[in-house]
Symmetry: C2
Subunit: 244 residues, 2 copies
C-alpha cells in the first residue's frame, strides 16, 4: 500500500531533511519509525523535495509503501506516538501506485519571515532577525518582476546547476503584520537556495542598496555573482505542496 503524509517540523534541531549517515535528519527519523511500523522491514520515503538545515516546514509531503493496509487515522497516531515531538504528521492518505511525492508536484509555496522590529531572542530560530526598517513598497515592486517564467540562473550556485534553470513563479507577495514581514513565493519548482537567494536580494532592495528594476538586469545576466547574499535558513518555511 502506498501512502502520502503531510507533516510539519521544526528544522532548527536537524541537519536538514535528507538522510545522512550519523546526522539527525527528518528523513532518518521518519524512516526509523515507519520501518518499525512495517514489522522492521526497511521503509524508504520520498518527499516533495529536501529542505536544508534550519529550514522548517508547515506542510511537507512524502510518500512511502507499507506491506500492510492500515487505518489512516491509526497510522497517523502510530507515527506521531513514535516520532520526536518536533515533527508532526498532520494527515495520511492513500495514493495510487503511479503517484510520486516529488515528480507529481504541480506547485510549491515557500514563505520567509523577517522581523524588522527589535531583536527577539525567543524567535531567533524561527524568524530572521533583521531588526531594521525595510522599504516595503520597493520590495513589493520587485516581487511583481519575479512573477512569470524566468531563467533563475542568477539565483543558483553554479555547482548546483544540473539542468535547465527556468522556473515559473505563479505568485510572489509580501504581507506586513506589525514588525513581521512574510514573503511568499508560489512556483512550479525551486532549485537549491533559490528562495533564500531571492530573499537576500529582496532585502538588499528593501535596504536601498539596489532598486527593484535591478532585478530585471540580474535575471538577464544569468550570473550568481550579480545577485545578492543568501538569506539565513531560520526564516524559511516550506508552506505547501500542490499536486493535481
Amino acid at each position: 500500500m502506498k501512502y502520502l503524509i503531510t507533516f510539519s517540523y521544526d528544522g532548527s534541531k536537524y541537519s536538514g531533511y535528507q538522510k545522512q549517515p550519523k546526522k539527525r535528519t527528518i528523513q532518518n527519523e521518519l524512516e526509523k519509525v515507519l520501518t518499525k511500523i512495517n514489522s522492521n522491514k526497511k521503509v524508504t520515503i520520498s518527499a516533495s523535495g529536501r529542505t536544508d538545515a534550519g529550514v522548517h516546514a508547515y506542510n511537507q509531503k512524502a510518500h512511502f509503501s507499507l506491506d500492510n493496509e492500515f487505518d489512516l487515522d491509526k497510522l497517523k497516531h502510530s507515527i506521531n506516538s513514535l516520532i520526536p515531538d518536533d515533527i508532526y504528521i498532520k494527515n495520511v492518505t492513500k495514493v495510487d501506485d503511479d503517484f510520486h511525492a516529488r515528480f507529481s508536484v504541480k506547485a510549491k509555496e515557500y514563505i520567509y519571515k523577517i522581523n524588522i522590529g527589535e531583536y527577539n531572542p525567543i524567535e531567533k530560530d524561527y524568524i530572521f532577525q533583521y531588526n531594521k526598517e525595510l522599504d516595503i513598497p520597493e520590495m513589493e515592486k520587485a516581487l511583481k518582476y519575479l512573477e512569470g517564467t524566468h531563467d533563475f540562473k542568477s539565483f543558483v550556485k553554479a555547482k548546483d546547476i544540473k539542468e535547465d534553470t527556468t522556473r515559473t513563479i505563479i505568485k510572489a507577495k509580501l504581507i506586513k503584520d506589525h514588525n513581521l514581514i512574510t514573503i511568499s513565493l508560489l512556483g512550479t519548482g525551486f532549485m537549491r537556495y533559490m528562495v533564500r537567494n531571492i530573499v537576500g536580494m529582496l532585502i538588499e532592495i528593501g535596504e536601498g542598496k539596489r532598486k527593484s528594476e535591478d532585478l530585471i538586469d540580474i535575471l538577464n545576466q544569468k550570473d550568481r555573482t550579480k545577485a545578492g547574499m543568501c538569506a539565513k535558513a531560520c526564516g524559511l518555511y516550506l508552506n505547501d505542496v500542490y499536486y493535481e
Copy 2:
C-alpha cells in the same frame, strides 16, 4: 554606579533564571558577562524575581553595580555582544542607590499562551499545545473572579509558603486571536508556580471539568489539593515589571 537592565530571553534552553552550580541559567550567563565588563571584579545581579526552567521573559528587570560609569548605550551593546543570543538586553538605565529590582516592584504582568488549534511542532517550546477547543466565555468569567485581593494559598505548594499568601490581581484578561489564546495576569506579586496553577485551573474550567464559580470556593478553601493541575512552563512569559 547602579544600573537597571530590561531583558528578554528564551527560557527553553535554561535551567531557569536563578544561579545554580553547574547549570546553564540566565543569572549565571549575565553575571559572567558583567564580571568581565567590570574588569573581572565579581558582579552579582538582583532580578525582579526568578523564572522557572522553560519559562520565558519579554521584559525581565535586574539591577547590578559596576565600579565605573559607562555610557548606557555602549554598556547595552557590550553586554549583548558577549551574552548568548537567546538572551537580549533591551535597555539600560541608571538607578538610585536605594532602588532594588525586587523590593521596589509595584506590579508584574505574566502572560500564558495556549494553542487550541492543531499541534504545531515549531512552537512547542513557546506555546502550550493544548490542541482542543476551550470554553472561552466560561474562562473569562473565572478571570473576573480572580481580580481583587485574595488569599491565593490554594495556588501555592505548601512547601513554598514562607509568608502571607494574600496578593492582589489588578487585571486578569484573555485575548483570543484565531487559535492562539493569551491569558494575562497583572498583579502586585506572584508566588512560585502561582500563575501556572491558576492557568491549570482555568484550563479545567475551559474544558468543562469545573465551573467558573468553583474558583470562589477554591480560593476560600485555601488548600492546594482543591485546585487544578499546574500548566506547563513553556507557555509562560514574564511580560513586564512595573516600578513607581
